[in-house]
């Protein structure tokens, strides 16, 4: 299991950096927002928590299609399925590797990008907290989507289509935490919901992902 995690991390670093690039996409989406909605800083301040959450979500999403597809194409997944590792462990580790290479850097970079979008002062902490709590759910849900679409020729967009509705609850509560935090409102309720979603997803979805993957390997 550790071998698999280490390999996936190594691959992410080698392949032009799964690390840097998810981040870069986040950065770029954030930068493009003012170009499209205009530069007024009050407007930006209003939408910034939501935009940052949406950007993080899209950055996660964009890196999902390489989560399992590469292993599928070169036959590694067949071999892993016949190896003495339960598929549940395989998908959990894949999700973990995805979070480490994508979610974690996003959490760390969010405050910097908050500056670009005039995020109000009290919002920074809440933005980071909500992302740290929410991104693991994004990775686990995304792994499920990747397992669903892995056999399809370039399921990239189909993957997005399937995963985005699943991301809605996480997004709603996550963005709500960040938004309320930014205007110094109470954030307990959405925060609890967010934590609940993440805990549930992490505990249960790997079984669904493994089942789906087994079907796709047939």
């Amino acid at each position: 299991m550790i071998a698999l995690l280490m390999r996936d991390l190594k691959l992410a670093f080698r392949a032009g950096g799964g690390f840097g690039l998810g981040l870069a996409f986040f950065l770029i989406v954030t930068v493009l927002v003012p170009f499209s909605v205009g530069p007024q800083s009050s407007l930006l301040a209003t939408i910034s928590p939501g935009v940052l959450w949406l950007g993080a979500l899209l950055a996660c999403l964009l890196s999902l299609d390489r989560l399992l597809a590469l292993d599928w194409e070169d036959g590694s997944l067949d071999l892993l399925a016949t190896a003495p590792l339960p598929l549940e462990a395989v998908v959990t580790i894949k999700a973990l590797a995805h979070w480490i290479t994508t979610g974690l850097p996003l959490v760390l970079a969010a405050p910097v990008l908050g500056v670009l979008l005039n995020l109000p002062q009290p919002g920074f902490v809440w933005l980071v907290v909500s992302l740290a709590l929410g991104t693991p759910a994004l990775s686990v849900i995304g792994t499920f989507g990747a397992a669903l679409t892995v056999g399809l020729k370039r399921g990239g967009l189909l993957l997005s289509l399937l995963v985005l509705p699943l991301y809605v609850p996480t997004l709603i509560f996550g963005a709500e935490v960040a938004r309320r935090g930014a205007i110094s409102m109470e954030t307990n309720t959405p925060l609890l919901m967010l934590a609940g979603i993440t805990a549930g997803a992490v505990a249960l979805l790997p079984f669904a992902s493994a089942a789906v993957l087994r079907v796709n390997l047939r």
Partner: protein, 250 residues
Amino acid sequence: MSISAKANRLWAYANPKKFLETTEKALPFFWVAAALCLVVGLVWGFFFTPDDYRQGSTVKIIYLHVPSALMAINIWFMMLVTSLVWLVRRHHVSALAARAAAPVGVVMTLIALATGAIWGQPMWGTWWAWDPRLTSFLILFLFYLGYIALWEAIENPDTAADLTSVLCLVGSVFAILSRYAVNFWNQGLHQGASLSLDKEENVADVFWVPLLVCIAGFVLLFVALVLYRTGTEIRARRIKALQARERVGA
């Protein structure tokens, strides 16, 4: 000596070996000169210039901000030229010089952005505003990142040189387009009328002379860094070639 003969002598330095030998000799001079100018310029600027009547002591940031901003743009220019040389004459040293310069350009852009942001907080009351000049710097930063990422992602050095050169060319055109687009999009805060430093004649000599020294320092530092780093890239390139050969020989 005719111009073309001179040019030919210049091309001789495109031979990696000759380049290494020559820069080996020239580098100490550049290091020392850069250090000298930087120390003199910055110390002079920081300790021995008066505060501006309007901006107070923040005016001292100019000694870092302006030189780095200038370098950030000009380094991209230099990369454009060396990329063209590679595409036309296929001298490896030229492509490698572009590669060596890019990280220096990133750092310069970062310094300009950071000092600008720090300056913006007291002057404009915000770290960041979507002012055209600031924005176009951010875009330049993205171009640098993309350029470097492409170099890192491609394994075959010649392929990488070709592709990054074309990217640099196309990117330059789009960078200029963005500059106009951004200007059109937002008129911005940077150097409003209150900051008359913009026009050369309005700058008091007390600020101007140390600023010039700092600019010279940054330029010299860049030259030293690029020569040194190009040497490093040449060696890395040769290591790669030798290792590849070693493997095939095996």
